[in-house]
């Protein structure tokens, strides 16, 4: 993209640019060497070596400019909600190009095909493949293929031939173009561009079927484009009269070779990648690298074999995603996800900006009104006609019909982009005499489709009321029923003796489970790798995290760590504190925590006010104590190990406990547990009372609650000791947690004479050590109840331990969703 002939004035100008946008490189260079002046003759301490760093420097600067521009766009939400980012970037590119041109009068920076095809396109396509919704994609594969292959050929042929027809009529004036040149132009302008489509459609949010069809088409038509382009280019080179029928047949054969070969390369590399990630357990830190390197290699390999590189990397992403995601660690998965998104979005940004910049070059501009306008008209019209015709055919076979509005959006969403531009720039001027006309027309077409259509597609979609995609949280029920449907459908196809989609899918998934997964997945991953289980995990984890995060957000150590605050007061601090403060703090905290159970909100308010008034010294000490282990943790540095932060560990910890606890609680529900039931009843009564008159002390309450506390505490002891022990060796963070817990328990067992104190402490322990792990198997109060986060009730419903009755319709007093709906209940906890 950069530095074609960047010498002399070129960089002077860049400097001016950089001055405005990123600071002066020269000045920086000098600043870095403070003692520069006492240099000895002959040996220069400081040398200014611009040429040494020129190229990477300029690249880095451009990336910076593009990224800064993106920030700037998003400063105004209004602008970005109306104008697609791609259009803004093109305009910015035009402006920057204008500046460069004004300063230099040479178009120093353009989007070169090499940079585009080797560095900018692969990340975008890989991203598309790796995050491809596979089921949707394969479910609509037939439709996509038809549009990609027939549609593209249709577009290329009709556009080329029509232009040629008009040319023959003499409307375009005198041009040195033959039929083949027109067809060549038609073939490069015909393909819908994945980059442009992604950029625009991601902001529009049409329904997923429509999106996958347009987007899938744009990805898969690459093979057609490549073949058509190569065929016609070689025909042009040969000269029109020498083209024989054999060449045409060869062209058709080469289409199959290019597309299938590209796909095969992609699949092979996906296999390799999945296999490699199976064995990366001990090199976690470079794990994400494999994903990128191997997929990139698939791209390069198929490029080397002159197969469809886009198909290769797309299918590499599509095929490997399942296994890679299962094999690599969670952190690596996150890294891969973010890196991929970053690279793709960065590449996209640069592409559009440089499309703008490249346009500012008078040397490439050749205007021919008729040619340009007719091209615009033809590609739009023929796209629409093509879509309508193909949809008409498809709708006879499709289960979900593509309606008229879908067709409108599909026709209108046929955006052309950087691929066409890069291809047209690749043309050889000696062979294609009117290259400049083609280039300028392509630029116009790209700008028109990206800016004008991109700008208007959103209002159009709204106006037509196209079904939008809605983002829903994954639901367990939905997944389960979906699974049931899958099996039913495949069974129906089996029974009726037909081979359909479901039949194939079913057979494939059986094959996958029996063979592929066994080879390509870690053993541990095979176990946990079920989609439903995943959703379950996800939901659990989300709840746990949000639960913790909520506590953190509220700024309350008490929420999650408050038990330790309590502890702290009793723990021997090395830091001396005034005893009065200690007394007051402990008193306040105690009072508070006991309130926690009733109403977290009011507690929080109180706590906050307390904080304000509290002695800052004490507070500091407390916090210091609390956070100390974390700080120490952060000092550790290792290049090869990423130490998960405390938070992460705790989240995980919480999650594991939730799972374990859940499982345990089910076991216990199976066995009858009278004691718990009784307790549950007590709970409920108390709860109700508490709710009704939380201020009025109830006679029964003080009697019951301490009793409860004791039993519960005992259980606590039992339950906590075990997990705590096992996890201790894992990390400092958890050790810390464990210690505090133990402290608490030691403290409580030392004899609690204050009924107010004990509940609070328990609540604390439970709150910090995830509450849903807490005491009685069935009697567990929800953590909500305990700490009553003012939050939507749905939010935490899944967290709460399950107390479903095993009796199918029995009148079990304990309703299943009680944890969710449960009001503040657990004074005695």
């Amino acid at each position: 993209m950069v530095a074609r002939g960047v010498r002399g004035p070129g960089w002077g100008l860049l400097l001016a640019l950089a001055l405005a946008l990123a600071g002066l490189p020269r000045a920086r260079g000098v600043e870095e060497e403070p003692g520069a002046h006492n240099s000895i003759e002959g040996f220069q301490v400081v040398t200014f070596k611009w040429h040494h760093v020129q190229d990477p420097y300029i690249i880095a600067l451009w990336i910076l400019v593009a990224s800064l521009a993106k920030i700037a766009f998003h400063l105004s939400h209004k602008v970005t909600s109306v104008v697609p980012e791609s259009a803004l970037l093109i305009v910015l590119g035009l402006v920057l190009g204008g500046i460069v041109w004004a300063a230099d009068h040479i178009a120093s920076f353009t989007l070169t095909p090499t940079v585009f095809f080797f560095y900018l396109l692969p990340p975008i396509v890989l991203d598309a493949g790796y995050f491809m919704p596979n089921r949707l994609f394969f479910g609509n594969l037939g439709t996509i293929l038809l549009y990609a292959v027939i549609g593209t050929v249709w577009n290329a042929a009709t556009t080329g031939l029509s232009l040629y027809g008009v040319f023959l009529s003499g409307l375009m004036g005198d041009l040195q173009i033959g039929l083949l040149d027109f067809l060549l132009f038609g073939s490069l302008i015909a393909a819908v561009d994945p980059v442009a489509v992604l950029a625009v459609f991601e902001e529009v949010h049409v329904n997923e079927v429509l999106f996958i069809i347009v987007f899938g088409e744009s990805l898969l038509n690459d093979a057609v484009t490549v073949v058509l382009y190569n065929v016609f280019e070689s025909f042009v080179t040969l000269g029109g009269d020498k083209v024989t029928g054999v060449d045409c047949v060869k062209g058709i054969v080469s289409f199959f070779v290019v597309s299938l070969g590209g796909t095969l390369v992609g699949v092979l590399f996906a296999f390799l990648l999945s296999l490699v990630t199976r064995f990366t357990k001990h090199v976690r830190i470079i794990e994400p690298g494999f994903v990128f390197v191997i997929s990139y290699l698939s791209y390069l390999t198929s490029e080397m074999l002159s197969l469809s590189a886009i198909l290769a990397i797309t299918f590499c992403g599509i095929c490997c995603q399942k296994y890679v995601k299962a094999n690599i660690s969670e952190q690596s998965a996150t890294t891969v996800r973010y890196t991929m998104k970053m690279l793709a979005s960065g590449a996209e940004t640069i592409i559009f900006m440089f499309l703008g910049i490249s346009a500012v070059d008078p040397l490439i501009w050749t205007w021919n009104t008729a040619f340009v306008l007719l091209t615009l008209v033809f590609i739009s019209v023929y796209r629409a006609i093509g879509v309508v015709l193909q949809t008409w055919v498809l709708n006879r076979y499709r289960m979900v019909q593509l309606e008229l509005i879908d067709q409108v959006v599909m026709s209108y969403g046929g955006l052309r982009g950087a691929v066409a531009y890069a291809l047209v720039v690749l043309l050889d001027e000696k062979k294609v005499k009117e290259k400049n006309l083609f280039v300028s027309t392509t630029i116009i077409v790209v700008f028109f489709t990206v800016i004008f259509q991109g700008l208007t597609i959103k209002p159009l979609v709204q106006w037509l009321k196209v079904k939008r995609s809605e983002h829903r949280e994954p639901k367990l029920n939905e997944k389960l029923h979906g699974r049931a449907f899958d099996h039913i459908l495949s069974a129906i196809e089996d029974i009726s003796g037909q081979i359909g989609h479901n039949y194939l899918r079913d057979k494939w998934s059986n094959f996958d489970r029996k063979f592929l997964s066994k080879v390509l997945m870690r053993r541990s991953a095979q176990k946990s790798r079920d989609r439903i289980l995943n959703v379950f995990h996800e939901l659990n984890l989300k709840d746990a995290i949000s639960y913790v995060a909520e506590g953190e957000r509220r700024g309350s150590l008490a929420f999650i760590r408050s038990p330790s605050t309590d502890n702290m007061v009793n723990v021997d601090f090395s830091t001396p504190r005034p005893s009065t403060v200690e007394a007051s703090v402990s008193y306040l905290l105690r009072e508070n925590v006991s309130e926690v159970c009733l109403d977290m909100q009011s507690l929080e308010q109180r706590r906050r006010s307390i904080r304000d008034t509290e002695d800052m010294v004490t507070h500091h000490t407390l916090q210091q104590y609390l956070y100390k282990p974390r700080q120490e943790y952060k000092h550790l540095y290792s290049r090869h190990e990423l130490t998960p932060t405390d938070d992460e560990k705790q989240d995980k910890e919480i999650f594991h406990r939730t799972m374990r606890k859940r499982l345990e609680s089910f076991k216990s529900t199976k066995l009858g547990i009278n004691q718990n039931k009784k307790a549950a009843k007590l709970y409920k009564r108390e709860r109700a009372q508490k709710r009704r008159n939380s201020s009025i002390p109830n006679g029964k309450l003080p009697l019951e609650s301490p009793l409860h506390n004791f039993t519960i505490k005992e259980r606590d002891d039992l339950e906590f000791s075990d997990p705590e022990e096992t996890q201790e060796d894992r990390s400092g963070g958890i050790e810390f947690l464990a210690n505090v817990t133990r402290d608490t328990m030691a403290d409580s067992s030392a004899g609690v004479d204050n009924p107010v104190f004990s509940p609070e402490e328990d609540a604390g322990v439970l709150a910090r050590v995830p509450p849903w792990l807490s005491p009685g198997d069935t009697v567990v109060p929800s953590q909500r109840a305990r700490v009553q986060i003012p939050c939507s009730p749905d939010h935490f419903r899944r967290l709460s331990p399950i107390r479903l009755s095993t009796k199918s319709t029995g009148g079990d007093p304990e309703p299943e969703e009680a944890p969710r709906a449960r009001p503040p209940e657990s004074t005695h906890m």
Partner: protein
């Protein structure tokens, strides 16, 4: 009831093949479908073919054997939505399909999917994966049940008991979820002609 004539012929051939040229099919006949063997919920699906509720022959119970007409009745649950249908018909169609699934879950025909029944289904569903233990399947079922309860009832009083998913609740759970592609078999869609059964 709309299934195309070609389809009917084809299905009839298949029916005969399954029944061994008998006028009716019994449960055992389904054992001869080899591909069905790998289906984790095949028992439930085969049962659905004989379920009186699905056959519209009664509120509960199982039929001993089914005729070709009954076979078609079951198959017609899977017909795709026709473009010519108006909204009400589409809704009706959707309900029927969901009712089929509901009946499969509600094995004791009491109009409720109880926890026990739900667990049972989930266990079977997940039995294809040897790595998932029964316990996890149960916990998933429990989680799903809680989710269902929260969707259907919302805030519940502490002493309220959620006894099971009724069909109304079931519809609520499915609200907003497309089943267009989920409960349709493509081959039943050729040149639909009216076929009144």
């Amino acid at each position: 009831m709309r299934v195309s004539s070609d389809q009917i012929e084809q299905l009839h051939r298949r029916f005969k093949q399954l029944s061994g040229d008998q006028p009716t099919i019994r449960k055992e006949n389904f054992n001869s479908v080899p591909d069905l063997e790998l289906n984790p919920i095949r028992a439930k699906i085969v049962r659905a073919f004989f379920d009186n509720r699905n056959l519209r022959k009664g509120p509960s119970g199982l039929a001993e054997e089914i005729s070709f007409e009954d076979f078609l009745t079951i198959m017609s649950y899977f017909r795709p939505i026709d473009i010519s249908m108006d909204e009400e018909q589409v809704e009706q169609c959707r309900k029927e399909k969901l009712r089929f699934l509901f009946h499969m879950y509600d094995s004791d025909s009491d109009g409720r999917i109880t926890l026990e029944e739900y667990r049972n289904v989930v266990e079977e569903l997940l039995s294809g994966n040897p790595h998932i233990e029964k316990e996890s399947a149960r916990s998933i079922a429990d989680g799903a049940m809680m989710e269902a309860a929260s969707v259907c009832v919302g805030q519940m009083e502490p002493d309220q008991v959620y006894e099971g998913i009724t069909f109304e609740d079931f519809l609520k759970i499915w609200q907003g979820i497309d089943i267009e592609t989920k409960m349709h078999v493509r081959f039943l869609n050729m040149e639909t002609i009216a076929f009144c059964h």
